[in-house]
Symmetry: C2
C-alpha cells in the first residue's frame, strides 16, 4: 500500500520528502509521455530523471506499479464540490472537471499511453480505475439518481445509459475535438443536449 | 500515394502479390500490438516478421507511413449499406459497425496504441482519420441531417452535438464496457436513448 492510499501522516523530520516525491512523480509522467511507456519504465530511469537515489524512491513506493498508480492519479482533478441543489448545475460541474483536465497536453498524452498499455498491465489499470475513475463515476451516478428521485429526470431513466451519454459525449470531444482548450460552454451544451432526452 | 489510395488495378502476372500484401499488413499490425508502436516500427522488422524481402514491401509502399496508414485502415469495417428509409434503423446500422469492430481485441489494442502516438505522428494520423474516420462521420452526419429534413428529428437539432452523443456513447462503452463482445442490443439502446432527446 502506498503512502497516499494508506492516508498515513508523513513521518516528521523529513522536510525535503515532499519535494522529492513531487520530482519523482513528475519524472515518472515525463518519461511515460516521452514514449518510454509503462512497460519500459524503470526505477533506475525515474531516479536518474528525478535526480534522486533509487532508495529515495523505494522508501516511498515498494515497486513500479505503486508509483505509476500514484503518478497517473495525480492527473485526475479531485472531485469538485457539488451544490447538491440543481441536478443540471452539478452535471455541468462534473463535466467541467473533465474539460479542464483535457486541456493539459501532457496529461492527455500520458493517459492515452497508459490506456494503450492497459492489456499488458491489467492489475495496474484496475487499481488506477478504482482509485481515480470510480469515485467520479459514483458521483455522476449519485447526481443522476438524485434527479430521478426529485423528478428533475424521467422516472424510467436508464441511469447507466445516462452516465454513458454524459461521459461519452465529453470524452468524444476530448478525443476528436479541436486541439487546445475545449470551449468553456461545452459542458453546459452537452448537459442540455443530454437532458433533452432525460427530462420527464 | 499507395495502391489502395490510388485505386489502380494491380499489375497482372503477380499471383502471389495479394498474399504478400496481406502478410505485410498483418505483420505491421502484430508488431504494433506487441508494443513496438509506430515509432519503433521499421521496414526491416516488418519484412522479417512477414517473411518477405524489404524490396517486396518497397514495391508496394514507398515508406513506413504509407504502410501504417493502410494497415490501420484495414481495422475499420467498410461503411455498411444504409436503408435510407428509417433514420433510427440507419443510426443503429452505423453504431453496429462500431460495435463489431470493438470486438476485435487486436484491432482495439492497435488503435489505442496508434492514438497514443498521434502527437508524435500528426501527419500519419491525419491521413488515417481522413481515410478511415471521415467517411463514417460524413455518413452519420448525412443520416442525422436527413432526419432533420424529414421531420424524424427536431428541426432545431444541433447536428454536431447529435453526432458526438451517438458516437461518444458508443465509444464510452468500447472503452469502459465489460471486456469481450458488447451486447448485441447495445446500438439499438444507445440510439433510442439518444433519439429521446433528438426527436421533435
Amino acid at each position: 500500500m502506498t503512502i497516499q492510499e494508506s492516508g498515513a501522516a508523513r513521518p516528521a523530520g523529513r522536510p525535503r520528502s515532499e519535494k522529492a516525491e513531487k520530482a519523482i512523480i513528475e519524472a515518472t509522467l515525463d518519461l511515460i509521455a516521452e514514449g518510454m511507456g509503462v512497460s519500459e519504465l524503470s526505477i533506475e530511469a525515474i531516479a536518474s530523471r528525478a535526480g534522486v537515489g533509487k532508495t529515495t524512491i523505494y522508501r516511498r513506493w515498494s515497486n513500479k506499479e505503486d508509483l505509476v498508480v500514484d503518478a497517473l492519479s495525480t492527473l485526475k482533478a479531485p472531485l469538485p464540490p457539488l451544490s447538491g441543489t440543481s441536478v443540471r448545475d452539478d452535471l455541468i460541474t462534473l463535466l467541467e472537471a473533465m474539460r479542464t483536465e483535457s486541456g493539459h497536453q501532457r496529461g492527455r498524452c500520458v493517459m492515452n499511453i497508459a490506456m494503450s498499455e492497459a492489456d499488458r498491465h491489467p492489475r495496474l489499470m484496475e487499481r488506477f480505475v478504482k482509485r481515480a475513475i470510480e469515485p467520479r463515476r459514483l458521483a455522476l451516478r449519485e447526481v443522476i439518481e438524485r434527479g430521478v428521485a426529485t423528478g428533475e429526470l424521467r422516472p424510467d431513466l436508464d441511469v447507466a445509459m445516462g452516465m454513458a451519454i454524459l461521459s461519452g459525449t465529453m470524452m468524444w470531444h476530448t478525443k476528436w475535438g479541436p486541439a487546445g482548450d475545449l470551449p468553456a460552454d461545452l459542458p453546459e451544451r452537452i448537459v442540455d443536449a443530454a437532458l433533452a432526452g432525460m427530462a420527464p
